[in-house]
């Protein structure tokens, strides 16, 4: 693997664009597939990526690997995300256009043809004293106005919240917790009926948790299952330590 050294880049797309330009590739689906490994290597070895941006870099890595996998296995059809690489290709081209435009803007700023207004004169010319702003109460400010505005803000929040799908938070029980309670149960009763145990569950999630907890304990050799015949009742039996 050759060492990649890139000048400063400004985000995941910036990095991708630099890598593509470095390999002198055009922005196409094929080059995106080709460059995927380089990109992943770079993200893995580069320590300069700010933590708060890392997630965005990884999202792009995932998109690239998906494109690469499609290029490697063309006979697999994925209709769900059909548009994906087309989007990235378009997105990157658009990004490139803006990079070019930002260089033009930098050049414009670089001319230093700043425009000045009278306020600049008042502020800085010859007297460098800082003038303290006097407090002047706005004429139309009344307690009612504040109350109105506050209500408006609240209404806006309510409107925003209205669109969120409602979901009640259920008290979730973890597998670890359930394992402890099963151990206690076996400590007291030595054996219990599996179907009766499942019936104690209050909802589907708990059924799954109960099931997984029992399996986990079986794996850890704390209990075994006994069944007299096909479709007969399953008994959960503690193993004496």
């Amino acid at each position: 693997m050759h060492e990649v050294k890139l000048e400063q880049f400004t985000g995941p797309l910036g990095l991708l664009l630099r890598l593509i330009e470095k390999e002198e590739l055009d922005i196409t689906e094929l080059s995106l597939a080709k460059i995927a490994d380089n990109y992943v290597d770079y993200v893995q070895t580069n320590k300069n990526i700010p933590d708060e941006e890392l997630a965005d870099f990884l999202v792009l890595a995932a998109r690239l690997l998906y494109i690469k996998s499609k290029a490697l296995l063309p006979y697999l059809v994925f209709d769900e995300i059909e548009d994906n690489e087309d989007n990235l290709e378009r997105q990157l081209k658009m990004y490139q256009d803006f990079i070019v435009a930002s260089e033009t803007l930098a050049a414009l700023i670089g001319r230093k043809k700043f425009l000045f207004t009278p306020s600049a004169l008042n502020r800085n010319w010859r007297r460098r004293k800082v003038v303290k702003p006097n407090f002047i109460a706005p004429k139309n400010l009344t307690p009612e106005l504040l109350a109105d505005r506050y209500e408006e803000i609240l209404n806006r929040l309510v409107a925003a919240i209205k669109f969120l799908p409602e979901e009640n938070l259920e008290a979730k029980i973890s597998i670890d917790e359930r394992i402890v309670s099963i151990r206690n149960l076996l400590g007291r009763k030595l054996r219990f009926s599996f179907s009766k145990f499942l019936k104690t569950a209050k909802n589907r999630t708990e059924i799954v948790v109960n099931f997984l907890a029992v399996l986990e304990l079986a794996k850890q050799h704390e209990l075994v299952f006994e069944q007299d015949g096909l479709f007969a009742e399953i008994q959960v039996v503690a193993i004496k330590q």
Binding site: A101, K113, L115
Partner: protein, 187 residues
């Protein structure tokens, strides 16, 4: 002709950008009429190579010194204006300048990275401003008149390739496309 002279006086005396609304109220005239006169006025200033120009952004107007005199004026004011911007801020500013008013989501889709911090810095520096878009129900960002002063142009239309980059079709969110498909199926 009278309206032109009124507007000129108002712009001359104000030390901050005036909106079309401010001007319409002060001059007691229709907004559209004022806009027409201002466009004419701005063109006149530039064509006659005056020492000031009329800058406009988001329907706000301000008289500023002409870009060609920048060196001399800044020496006179002893004002040190640096041209420094980080590449990332410049990139975000470019997108906001060309695509503005733009939502945070669209900005992030184009840049491919979270832009909260950059937006905050640009807001603090007064290079961009935030407005609440009532139809979208979220905040949109555009560059300020101060940013135009920094660039030395009298309006965003003067930016190279402005029409082309401004009009580019929006990036579609794949979720939205799915939603559309669903809707057509139901119908």
């Amino acid at each position: 002709m009278k309206l032109q002279s009124i507007l000129e006086s108002l712009l001359f005396i104000s030390n901050q950008p005036l909106s079309l609304k401010d001007l319409a109220k002060a001059a007691d005239t229709d907004i559209l009429e004022i806009k027409e006169v201002l466009i004419k006025l701005g063109r006149e200033y530039q064509e006659s190579e005056r020492g000031f120009i009329l800058v406009n952004n988001n329907d706000k107007y301000q008289l500023t010194t002409a870009p060609q005199n920048a060196d001399l004026v800044s020496r006179f004011l002893k004002e040190e204006t640096s041209g420094e911007l980080t590449p990332a801020s410049l990139e975000a500013l470019t997108i906001i300048a060309y695509r503005g008013p733009v939502t945070k989501a669209e900005l992030e889709m184009i840049r491919g990275v979270n832009c909260s911090l950059i937006l905050r810095n640009l807001l603090i520096r007064g290079l961009i401003e935030e407005l609440q878009d009532k139809t979208l129900g979220e905040a949109v960002y555009s560059v300020t008149l101060d940013f135009l002063k920094y660039l030395g142009v009298s309006s965003l239309n003067e930016l190279p390739d402005y029409e082309k980059l401004h009009a580019r079709e929006p990036l579609k969110n794949s979720v939205e496309e799915d939603d559309l498909n669903l809707e057509t199926k139901i119908n």
